[in-house]
């Protein structure tokens, strides 16, 4: 199920003209989806079917290297606690809408804060891993 979600995410951003890569190795783990914006920034997305806390715990490492970080979950209600968890970290929330398809599949519920504390060496490492992965896909 998560694989299908990852596929839908990559299709969404590819249709918008962004270069994407999946399971990008980073710091002894991997980031589910990374895409490059037209401005050359890297955006990291952690996809989960449930358990937003676990998703946030994994996604947060993306803050070391990516310009923006998102968690993507199937659509559900967002409690105040949940919203606060995302906002305090600066991580965005994307809902995957089960009913629609194509370019309107994903809904940006909370915008990710632009990450100004990116670690230079981490960004280089992510960029390198992203380019290698994107080449192979």
């Amino acid at each position: 199920m998560e694989r299908k979600l990852v596929k839908n995410i990559t299709t969404h951003f590819q249709r918008k003209g962004h270069q994407t890569a999946v399971e990008v190795p980073f710091l002894s783990g991997s980031i589910d989806v990374v895409y490059k914006t037209k401005g050359g920034e890297l955006v990291a997305i952690e996809a989960k079917m449930s358990d937003y806390k676990r998703a946030l715990n994994q996604a947060k490492y993306g803050l070391l290297a990516a310009s923006r970080v998102y968690v993507c979950l199937p659509e559900r209600s967002v409690s105040e606690d949940m919203r606060h968890s995302f906002v305090s970290l600066g991580i965005g929330l994307i809902h995957a809408d089960k009913r629609s398809n194509g370019g309107r599949y994903l809904k940006f519920v909370i915008r990710a804060r632009r990450n100004r504390a990116v670690d230079r060496s981490c960004r280089s490492a992510l960029k390198k891993a992203f380019l290698e992965k994107a080449k192979g896909e």
């Binding site: 710091l27 002894s28 947060k60 490492y61 070391l64 670690d119 060496s121 981490c122």
Partner: protein, 437 residues
């Protein structure tokens, strides 16, 4: 002159670890512990390593418990659906004789096996003690090298009585036999101290009744000391009550001058030297807790030792804490707040981006298809060196300071890193404080 019994001991796990025992790391520990199967199988290499490359007291874990488990734990798959006992254990079994040989590969030993009449138990103890005491010197004599090496360096600093693993369900089967093995071993040796060896499951150890019986049994022997391995006991995951019980047991057992050595210990065990614990053993970069099986082997996971928390943590967690939470961006921030050991200064220099070297890893896939990450060789060297330097610092810090200061240091660490790490990474410091009270 007898070798002093070391306090900071490193367990020799595998031959690729040799560089971490030699210069410059040899200044960072006091003694070496080797597994008997490794010594039995690689005697020549080990003898040369111990006597010519190191100049450290050593002792040999006789690993008799390995013959008390199902043979699958010491066997390998031949590929034809059959199991064959691994060569190192076959070699060790030859040294130990009966009753090990007759059951080797068939089943694990039982207490009854030692009560078949005659002097079977005594002979078994003789073989086990003889192996530890003489295997290295015998190898050197065979090569004609014994003349060039002082006798003291050819001999272990202590010998260990045979022992078997006790769980909650097998405790009463093995307790008396383990005591008998110690009682039979002590008279065998008039020069080297004879130690007992407590290998016990965590739930058995923390059962108050069983622990009480164990203490009475151990104190009823003439052993000069005890090696202690509480299976899978994590000092980082332990409750305050468990840490208190551990401290009290060690304190009690060490009365009367008995030397108690923790075989898989971390910083809490090092602090217990203030409460009677004589020494602590760990591996080069790992080994502060262990399960009984597998017997030997296992792949250490890639982690960075964070000094203030006295714990090996996933590298990315450390990096996140340092860079994103604490926002320490410069090398001087790192030296002032994380670690200023010689190794970190050499690795990082003035460029904080060099810290990434500690986290370099590669991907692999196991035979069962599960992917895993492992450190690059270079990262492993960096992390191990950093770990050993910090371990040495911990021993020196504890030796130089009173308990009150050790407690204040733990409190300082909690305060300082409260905002940098999740509570689950700090909780053990509070429990350690409670465990010392």
């Amino acid at each position: 002159m007898q070798n002093e019994i070391p306090k900071h001991i490193i367990r020799y796990g595998a031959h690729p670890e040799k560089p971490f025992f030699e210069t410059p790391f040899d200044a960072l520990y006091d003694g070496v512990l080797l597994n008997a199967n490794t010594v039995a199988y690689s005697t020549r290499g080990i003898a040369e390593f111990l006597t010519q490359r190191l100049n450290k007291p050593f002792c040999i874990d006789p690993l008799t418990h390995a013959f008390g488990h199902s043979p699958i734990h010491i066997a390998k798959n031949t590929g034809e659906g059959e199991l064959e006992v691994r060569a190192a254990f076959k070699s060790l079994a030859q040294h130990y004789g009966q009753p090990v040989i007759s059951q080797l590969g068939r089943r694990g030993l039982r207490p009854d096996d030692f009560h078949q009449g005659g002097r079977l138990l005594e002979q078994f103890c003789e073989q086990v003690v003889h192996f530890q005491k003489n295997i290295i010197s015998a190898q050197l004599a065979e090569e004609g090298d014994d003349k060039y090496i002082p006798a003291q360096r050819q001999s272990p600093c202590l010998v260990i009585a045979p022992y078997f693993y006790m769980t909650s369900s097998t405790f009463h089967f093995w307790l008396d036999l383990n005591k008998s093995l110690i009682d039979a071993s002590v008279p065998l040796e008039s020069i080297l101290p004879v130690f007992g060896y407590i290998l016990i499951s965590k739930d058995a150890f923390f059962d108050d009744d069983l622990r009480g019986e164990l203490l009475v049994s151990c104190k009823g022997t003439e052993a000069r000391g005890f090696m202690l391995w509480i299976e899978s006991f994590s000092e980082h995951g332990a409750t305050k009550s468990e840490l208190n019980k551990y401290r009290q047991f060690v304190s009690n057992l060490s009365q009367g001058g008995r030397k108690v050595i923790s075989l898989y210990g971390g910083y809490f065990s090092i602090m217990l030297q203030k409460y009677g614990l004589h020494g602590v053993t760990h591996g080069p970069g790992y080994g502060e807790e262990r399960e009984v099986t597998p017997v030997g082997g296992g792949l250490p996971k890639p982690k960075f030792y964070f000094p203030a928390l006295h714990e090996r943590l996933p590298f990315r967690e450390v990096l996140f804490a340092i860079r994103t939470k604490a926002k320490w961006s410069s090398a001087s921030d790192y030296y002032g707040n994380v670690c200023d050991c010689v190794w970190c200064k050499q690795t990082i220099g003035e460029d904080m981006s060099n810290f990434m070297k500690y986290g370099e890893s590669k991907s692999g896939v196991r035979k069962d298809g599960i992917s895993f990450e492992y450190q690059t060789t270079q990262a492993k060297i960096l992390n191990t060196a950093h770990y050993l330097l910090n371990k040495d610092k911990e021993f020196k810090f504890v030796a130089a300071n009173e308990v009150q200061l050790l407690k204040e240091d733990l409190q300082d660490s909690m305060r300082k890193h409260r905002g940098n790490f999740e509570l689950e990474r700090l909780g053990h410091l509070a429990n350690w404080l409670g465990g010392l009270s």
